[in-house]
């Protein structure tokens, strides 16, 4: 049997994490097909066909697929699913919203948010916000799997030329209407994929003081993160939140400034390659995960940090 990957895209381009999902899906079976559902999504379809790991692309287009409404997507995927042993998608809000609707229709018990493919039916997944890892074996004949994109490397992006097959669209679900999407635009790297993340916590004391975080992020070409405490206190928008209830990030460098390190925050960043913590409380739990801890007042340390960075000849981008 073959593996069907559901591509995430914006009709023009593939979302970067689709490449990570392709890597994960390819580990579940070699005959990997990629499904793209959208409207006027020819450009994104072409890019999907260029991924060398993808053996065939199935494209479904209709006006009611333009905004990725799960109630429209699920029936057409369920219909196509009969030819596949595995249905796979990223565990971001697109996949989290969609996959259970497919799984329930197929009477399959979904395996969510896996971080490792152990075999075709056995997977590793974090539970309790990453405080335990479960090895689980799916006994369903057809498997519905969502994968945590940051746990898999992106696949090769070009060089392939998979055939593109068109499939028939399904009917529109009339009880759900898309109204609008407000995307947060920024010149900065996206939080979920940035090489460096600088985050501020309640220790910042005000939204105005987040300027310190911004300056440091500018210098390092970093994305800006925040703890839930900082978001709840209104210092910064919730799209910056890192943690169990926000984004899970795995940058090369994570700098936590004035963050104590609540369990729910650690769950979102502790897989980062190098972690720096700056906090005046030497007992703060954040130091237990930090590679480099600096016990200092952030209002002294961050300006000094900028000065020291200015002394360097080069800074990696």
């Amino acid at each position: 049997m073959s593996v069907l990957l559901i591509a995430e895209h914006n009709n023009q381009d593939l979302k970067p994490f689709t490449l990570n999902a392709v890597t994960a899906a390819s580990q579940m079976g070699e005959d990997l097909h990629a499904l793209i559902i959208g409207q006027n999504c020819g450009d994104a379809t072409k890019k999907l066909s260029e991924l060398p790991l993808v053996k065939k692309v199935i494209q479904v287009e209709a006006p009611h697929y333009e905004n990725f409404v799960a109630e429209n997507f699920a029936p057409v995927i369920v219909k196509l699913a009969k030819n596949y042993s595995h249905i796979v998608c990223s565990a971001n809000t697109f996949g989290k919203n969609l996959m259970p609707r497919i799984a329930a229709s197929l009477d399959t018990s979904q395996v969510s948010d896996i971080i490792k493919v152990i075999s075709q039916d056995t997977f590793l997944r974090p539970i309790y916000a990453g405080n335990a890892f479960a090895t689980v074996k799916s006994k369903d004949a057809k498997k519905c799997i969502t994968i945590r994109p940051t746990s898999f490397d992106p696949c090769e992006g070009s060089g392939g030329s998979a055939p593109i097959e068109k499939a028939e669209a399904g009917e529109e679900f009339n009880h759900t209407k898309f109204i609008k999407r407000e995307e947060i635009k920024s010149d900065r790297p996206e939080l979920g994929t940035a090489r460096v993340v600088v985050s501020g916590g309640r220790g910042m004391q005000s939204g105005d003081n987040f300027k310190l975080i911004t300056s440091l992020a500018d210098k390092l070409n970093a994305a800006i993160g925040a703890s839930r405490a900082a978001v709840d206190a209104g210092y910064i928008g919730n799209d910056h939140q890192v943690g169990q209830t926000g984004k899970v990030v795995v940058p090369d460098l994570y700098i936590a400034v004035g963050i104590s390190g609540a369990i729910q925050h650690l769950a979102g960043m502790k897989e980062s390659k190098v972690i720096v913590a700056i906090n005046k409380d030497g007992e703060a739990p954040i130091f237990s995960v930090a590679d480099y801890g600096l016990e200092a007042d952030l209002f002294d340390a961050v300006p000094q940090f900028l000065d020291e960075l200015n002394k360097l000849n080069t800074i990696q981008k």
Partner: protein
């Protein structure tokens, strides 16, 4: 309008999770249990809608062991009118839970079903979407704002890119984000009153649903530990280490 709210009993979010020595799961004996946090938001929203005069009845339902009655009772203490406990032995998968909830929906005929977007124990994020699929109802997941407009809901959803707004027809399922509202605490008089509110107990086995597990838990382990880091004494030392030792800047 009638609102059914599903609530789950989980290990309290402030408890440090410990893995059992035999790797069969996590320690739950003598551990503080609470309502799954976003389920508190779901109850709060339902009660607010009732207080605004737009709903007539709020029913709290939980699927779990006998002790899950406490979770239902807590929902009654913050304003739900009646409770239902579907009794099970051990933990069920979201697919089984959604099939049991489907039976309750068929019986109680609510106009809306609310629940948290995800349970903080298994982190599956499936039950609401599965229930919508089984009922073929519209779903609004990760809701951070709900407006009732006649026979429709306008829901703002938290998505990776920012915010999305959709309009769904009633009946519908909404899964709630923590940002939806600020759950209230139960007052002592309301806790006392809640003791008199009815909780109907149903055995899961009487609902005619196959709840047998489809996923085998082979083992549960501690996550790999990070190697201990060091404390640096100055910003200059920190930058030097990042540049020359970690080579990340």
């Amino acid at each position: 309008m009638k609102i059914l709210v599903a609530v789950k009993r989980v290990i309290d979010y402030n408890v440090q999770i410990r893995v059992k020595e035999d790797n069969t799961g996590v320690v739950t004996d003598n551990v503080k249990m609470s309502t799954n946090p976003p389920d508190d938001n779901a109850i709060e929203e339902a009660v607010k809608i009732k207080e605004a005069g737009k709903a007539t009845e709020v029913i709290a339902v939980s699927v779990g062991e006998e002790k899950a009655q406490e979770t239902v009772r807590k929902a009654l203490a913050v304003g739900a009118d009646k409770g239902i406990l579907i009794k099970t032995d051990g933990v069920l998968e979201p697919l089984a839970v959604s099939k049991l909830l489907q039976k309750i929906v068929e019986k109680e005929k609510p106009d809306l079903v609310f629940m948290g977007k995800q349970a903080i124990d298994d982190d599956c994020n499936q039950t609401g979407q599965m229930l919508s699929a089984l009922l073929n109802w519209p779903q609004a997941t990760f809701a951070s704002k709900i407006e009732i407009k006649d026979k429709k809901l306008e829901v703002t959803r938290e998505i990776d890119e920012g915010l999305e707004t959709i309009e769904i027809d009633i009946p519908a399922i909404v899964t709630c984000d923590l940002r939806l509202n600020e759950p209230r605490y139960a007052s002592l008089p309301n806790i006392m009153k809640a003791k008199k509110k009815p909780i109907q107990q149903i055995n899961a086995s009487d609902l005619g649903v196959d709840t047998s597990p489809r996923i085998e838990h082979i083992k549960v382990e501690e996550p790999p530990k990070r190697k201990a880091g060091i404390k640096v004494s100055s910003v200059a030392e920190l930058v030097q280490k990042l540049k020359n030792e970690a080579k990340v800047i």
